[in-house]
Amino acid sequence: MDPQVADASTNLGLLKVGIVVFGLALTLLAANGILISRNSETSVGHWAQAWARRYPMFALATSFFFGALIGHFFCDTWNPG
């Protein structure tokens, strides 16, 4: 079966969506953790850690879930060659 090479603009559209949805959120969270922590205040990450201390089993299960998710997305078990 002949492979069909897609329109590059469609891939670029998906990339834009990924950048907006995940990239912006990750950037804001990382910036919050860096900037707020320098002022001896509590950042979003500190509250998340407090939640993880109170519910350690939930934190463990959530870590396992996201680890499995990344493995599911990026472990290449099929290669059309």
């Binding site: 079966m1 995940f22 990750l26 922590s37 509590t42 993880a52 472990c75």
Partner: protein
């Protein structure tokens, strides 16, 4: 008034209302600005959802390099690079959290105690955690169902976005893993 009174009788909603009232008392933002901000946020969310919908509905008709109805999984980097980078970032996140705890021991507290006892942020954190887990469950159900019905699962969209820019995908996976390690792998 009757609805509010009925809501106040439910103790868990009452705590939430009290937290909202305290937030409003502490930061008396004019109602006009609140309404404009909410209206602008609603427009931004609708625009984002429209953008996501317009992109994702066009993807199955010819996206990436398609063979047998699914995208190629050959990227510029081998899959081991993504996986091991995510693992290293996860460990690095945990190590940075250990350093923060050593520098600021006052942050070693459970949710609802000491520095983290303010009811407003506690409720926000719990609502966010519950909502995130609910959304993850819904997405997992969609992923499982997509494989059985023949529609494109979320995995195929991730592969295609990775094909568009493997470097950004690697950076995003590493950043996400770093945050997970920093927030959820808590030091003792």
């Amino acid at each position: 008034m009757v609805v509010t009174a009925r809501l106040c009788r439910r103790h868990h909603v009452r705590a939430l209302l009290l937290a909202v009232i305290r937030i409003r008392d502490r930061w008396p933002i004019p109602q006009r600005i609140v309404r404009i901000g909410l209206f602008g946020a609603a427009i931004a969310i609708v625009a984002l959802l429209w953008k996501i919908w317009s992109v994702t509905t066009s993807t199955p008709t010819g996206l990436c390099a398609v063979l047998n109805g699914s995208p190629f999984t050959t990227f510029s980097y081998p899959s081991q690079v993504f996986v091991f980078t995510a693992i290293l970032a996860y460990v690095a996140g945990h190590l940075t959290s250990r350093y923060v705890v050593e520098v600021r021991p006052e942050l070693i507290a459970l949710l609802g105690e000491e520095r983290f006892e303010r009811i407003g942020p506690v409720l926000v954190v719990k609502l966010f955690a519950t909502g995130s887990l609910l959304i993850a469950t819904i997405l997992n159900v969609y992923e499982a169902r997509a494989f059985t019905t023949g529609t494109w699962p979320i995995t195929y969209f991730v592969w295609c976005a990775t094909a568009a820019s493997p470097l950004l995908a690697l950076l995003g996976a590493a950043t996400f893993s770093f945050l997970i390690g920093r927030w959820l792998w808590i030091p003792r």
